[in-house]
Assembly symmetry: C2
């Protein structure tokens, strides 16, 4: 099942529409702003103001319960309803449609309410929003996905798992990345009904299962470290579960032993014991290169050495784009002790890893988590230099997933909006090449 | 399926707990504040401060996945998890428990996160709330229910239908009132699967279907009024659907023709044509007495005359308690044009209907919608004189449903909290008699 946004103008459904290959207008979706569903004949039009330009109330078309009608057709209708649990789709004619990016949209829905005194019974419901028009994914080796991490705190509170699929598909992305210990009910033993539901959702929304986030909690026991055997058992459990759900890579997050995020020394033994299984399942184990650890660093070098030593195809790097940040992210989603004074605390200082370093390790990079915190109304990312990253990837001919990982402020619904902005930005840059 | 509150401290689950007939403590529920689920052995205690009094972190008991453990047991556990989609129940020992009403609760959950540098890997997650302890319903003729209208805008955005049932049952109410054209998917033709789900929820949560809100939209057609035939068809459709869902009364909201809410003249013909069906189905048709129409008013008198003339048992009054308001509700959930200047606009002036008027019509009253807008932290309703209404009802020996109809500000989740406050207030007053 899916939920609706509490805002009347829905995040999903904002798009240009085409007829016979020509863009003829744009669309958006509305939640019924009244407290009850109504016969569509009670609708009395909708004023639309897009980017300051007014569209008269009789012009937009309404799609309700799968049927598209003019206002006059609605007024005469006998068997169409605007239900509380079904959004209306509004189509506004406009040759050429709208430009990619953030728009301002205001609407006034007019509804006759018989139970109000006649003078006030034609009720205006107003709403406004800044919806994001996302262009189609351009051709090329880059594939566009989203991690459920982007929707932290929204999932299970205002989004079902199906909403995650619906959001991702609606913005034209085709990959879904999950957290095993977050998004799999009754982990590590999901019911077979849930596994069926999972595969059904992949099919229905046309998404590919990309990367599966896992953990090796080296401090799982308070009084001793996790052993290599225990770590391998954990990783292998996740490899099997990931495979069962259709994922092609697993990112194990090992416990660390230092501020530099040196992984716990069991990492190598755990991976060595699990490589045969990974090969058998054809699932790639991907350690994450994550700030404050840059590419030129013993941790990353240790992983590269391991790849070269073993010659494996099933252990590769996952790059978190936070390492390229050129400005500090001061509004963390979860704040750690942040030092004192005005100085940016050490662990928040941007690494600004140069593109040359990325180019060097690209042959070993399997997956990119497109970490970000804020894309503004002009599609400018305040921290991540996408204008350098995207050309670097396309010029190098890299192919693989860019998976949105929003990690900014956790106001309800913010991640959903920000992911749309990020995709609009990334695809615009990729289309320019 | 159910959703979780976005607030870490959940609205449901706050209650005193008893053992062998003695109250031994209190309980509350938490959503996992982390972005992933974890093995319970990673939990490192919870600080609880209740009404300013601190409970040390090792004292509370944890119930996870149906198993209750001490902190030491959690630390040693190998097969218990705190999932993202399953709340933890925290039990705090406290002889005598907590008093009825609004409390202040602060918590700090400590969690070891292996993937953070050792110095900061024991992470404190803080949360606070003002949860409401609701007493059990006292014996007597008053029965306690809730209307889904209380949760307007929450249903379908952060609450599923099952959440409505879960909220109502959690606060110890036993009746559910719905809006037919709001809460019945694919109204007026719900699927048989949905009807089965509905009856399954009634059974599982031990709720009784009380009143079903319906509408007779006399302005359904823009160019002419609804006919008696059309109105009767609408009412009879709703009577049948209400019966199928187990409801025992239907409130038809007729269109009105004046500021006094005079019902459209078809009302009487529509009801006359539907009385036989109502009798056959044993469903009571209940017109609503709603501000600005008081009890001593031609509209109400017209209904009473109809009852006396027909001698029917299947047409009775429904009282909306907004008519007893002693102060204006200035923060309406939906604002109508509200005049100008500082004066309270005419339609918002409190009617303050006297109790003697209520007593007079009580023999004809089938159902009470306990309309309200705000109950404060001291369980004082700012508008409705419950201290007079409840004794009037109990002294008169009236028996029937008091069904909460929250109609205050529509911030997400506010209605859910306010309904708990109202039930704490109503039941405290009823228990005093």
């Amino acid at each position: 099942m899916t939920m609706l946004d509490v805002a009347v103008i829905q995040g999903r459904g904002f798009r240009n529409v085409a007829q016979d290959g020509r863009v003829t207008g744009f669309q958006f979706q509305l939640r019924n702003p009244n407290y009850r569903g109504v016969a569509a004949s009670l609708l009395d039009g909708i004023d639309v103001v897009i980017d300051g330009e007014r569209v008269p109330e009789h012009v937009p078309l309404w799609t309700l319960q799968g049927r598209t009608s003019t206002l006059d057709e609605l007024r005469a209708s006998t068997d169409v309803r605007w239900q509380l649990d079904e959004p209306a789709t509004i189509t506004v004619p406009r040759p050429g449609g709208l430009a990619v990016g953030v728009h301002t949209l205001e609407v006034v829905v007019h509804l006759r309410r018989s139970y109000f005194p006649p003078m006030v019974s034609r009720t205006p419901f107003t709403a406004s929003a800044s919806p994001v028009l996302v262009p189609p994914a351009p051709d090329g080796g880059l594939r566009y996905g989203v991690s459920t991490y982007s929707y932290t705190q929204d999932v299970y509170t205002s989004m079902t798992l199906e909403d995650v699929f619906a959001d991702i598909a609606d913005l034209g992305a085709t990959g879904i990345e999950i957290l095993g210990e977050g998004n799999v009910p009754n982990y590590p033993s999901p019911s077979s009904a849930w596994i069926d539901e999972w595969h059904g959702l992949l099919e229905r929304y046309g998404l590919t299962a990309t990367n599966y986030g896992s953990w090796v909690d080296t401090t799982r026991w308070r009084d001793r470290d996790l052993t290599v055997e225990e770590g391998a058992e954990q990783l292998q459990l996740d490899l099997r579960l990931a495979k069962e759900l259709g994922f092609t890579s697993v990112r194990p997050k090992f416990g660390v032993t230092s501020w530099d995020l040196d992984p716990h020394p069991i990492w190598q033994g755990v991976v060595e014991r699990s490589l045969d299984l990974a090969t058998e399942l054809d699932v790639v184990i991907c350690p994450e290169i994550h700030a404050p650890t840059p590419i030129r660093h013993p941790v990353t070098q240790g992983y590269v050495d391991f790849i070269e030593k073993t010659g494996t195809e099933h252990f590769k790097l996952l790059i978190d784009t936070g390492i390229f940040n050129t400005a500090p992210v001061l509004e963390m989603s979860e704040e750690i002790e942040s030092g004192d004074g005005d100085e940016v605390p050490e662990h928040l200082r941007p690494l600004a890893v140069p593109m040359a370093d990325l180019v060097e390790v690209l042959p070993h990079v399997h997956f990119i988590q497109a970490k970000f915190a804020q894309v503004d109304d002009d599609l400018h990312d305040l921290h991540v230099p996408w204008g350098e990253i995207i050309p670097t990837l396309t010029d190098a001919g890299w192919s693989g997933w860019l998976s949105s990982e929003y990690e900014g402020r956790r106001e309800p619904g913010r991640g959903r909006d920000q992911v749309r902005r990020q995709h609009a930005l990334l695809r615009s840059l990729a289309a320019r090449r």
